[in-house]
């Protein structure tokens, strides 16, 4: 299809879709006029039943815990896909491109400070995910971002030990598999898959919400590892890591 032809099709199509949107919006209840029962029900029952003050995480890891398991494996599947697509063992060494180190000391200082701060906030988001806003997914992405900063303000050599796949691959498996193991533990004990069986603890403390806390940590580990490995795959398409003998010379 030529470019001109595509534009001719696109115009009416967008107008049509816009008209359908307008029709749909006209039939929606006004903004803020929420009617569905589920939100009201969950906001009332999740805190007393599950001892978690963050109802969003209570929903994510308990009410629709099975769904979140699928979500975790979507990320896992994407990681496998990207790795298979990008990992090219035959890549010629001539393609090697060495990035120069960042020269600006002020930028490096701020960057290094942000690595520590980023990791700390990431850990806080993970640990308190079921109490205050946050959670394993959000914390995991932030942790991986903090590790990536190490490459930006340092060099690939500084960054490389933190993306060691011999360490991260098994850890990723522990996170993703741990989710299933926690679900299966409920099956073994005679209840439904992913039933919240561990002690519910005291609401508003780190020792609360039973399985939700463990599932939160499992997904935090899985997401951190998946994101670090994803970033590394993209990065190393352009920056071929130095072999140990090169680094020594």
């Amino acid at each position: 299809m030529s470019r001109r032809m595509r534009m001719l099709v696109l115009g009416p199509a967008l107008l049509g879709l816009g008209a359908l949107f307008a029709w749909a919006i006209a039939g929606l209840p006004a903004f803020g006029d929420y009617r569905g029962p589920y939100g009201f029900v969950l906001n009332r029952v999740v805190v007393p039943l599950r001892h978690t003050t963050n109802v969003v995480m209570g929903t994510t890891f308990d009410v629709r815990g099975l769904d979140t398991m699928g979500e975790e494996f979507i990320l896992y599947a994407a990681l496998v896909g990207v790795t298979l697509l990008l990992r090219d063992e035959t890549r010629s060494r001539q393609a090697e491109r060495r990035t120069s180190r960042l020269d600006d000391d002020a930028v490096r200082l701020v960057g290094v400070a942000m690595i520590g701060g980023g990791l700390l906030v990431a850990l806080w988001l993970m640990a308190f995910g079921y109490i205050t806003p946050g959670g394993g997914f959000q914390g995991g992405v932030l942790a991986a971002g903090a590790v990536l900063l190490l490459y930006l303000v340092g060099s690939h050599r500084d960054y490389r030990p933190f993306r060691n796949e011999h360490f991260l691959d098994p850890l990723e498996a522990v996170g993703a598999g741990g989710y299933i193991v926690i679900g299966l533990a409920a099956l073994v004990s005679g209840t439904a898959f992913l039933t919240n069986l561990f002690g519910l603890g005291t609401t508003g403390t780190l020792v609360s919400s039973g399985s939700i806390a463990l599932l939160n940590w499992a997904s935090a580990i899985a997401v951190s590892c998946a994101m670090v490995l994803l970033f590394a795959e993209f990065l190393e398409t352009y920056v071929v890591p130095l072999e140990p003998e090169d680094a020594a010379s």
Binding site: F21, G39, T59, L75, F234
Partner: protein, 114 residues
Amino acid sequence: MSFLPYVVAAWICLVGIAGMATSRNLIHLAVCLTVTQSSSYVLLLSVGYVKHGKAPIFVGTKVGSTAADPVVQALTLTDVVVSVAVIALILALALDAHRLSGSVDPDGIADISG
């Protein structure tokens, strides 16, 4: 103005589709896809909003006080994760397409086979 968030969601979706259709660069196309997908975040979060409601996190507020729907917020989280997964795969494919054809223009690589 009580329909404004929905209109914004529809607008973001349309702009994203227009961007994808007219894109001359695969990376730009991937960003446009993310823009399109962002419209679903706006839509999900706005259908779950309850007038005068707070976030559904009951720290320092009474349980059962008016709060937004946590279901759509959890769905938005899933949406974001799916978006990350999809964009990662598309960017990886774009890199491969560039390696094979030397071009990132979707029209320029249309003739490649195999």
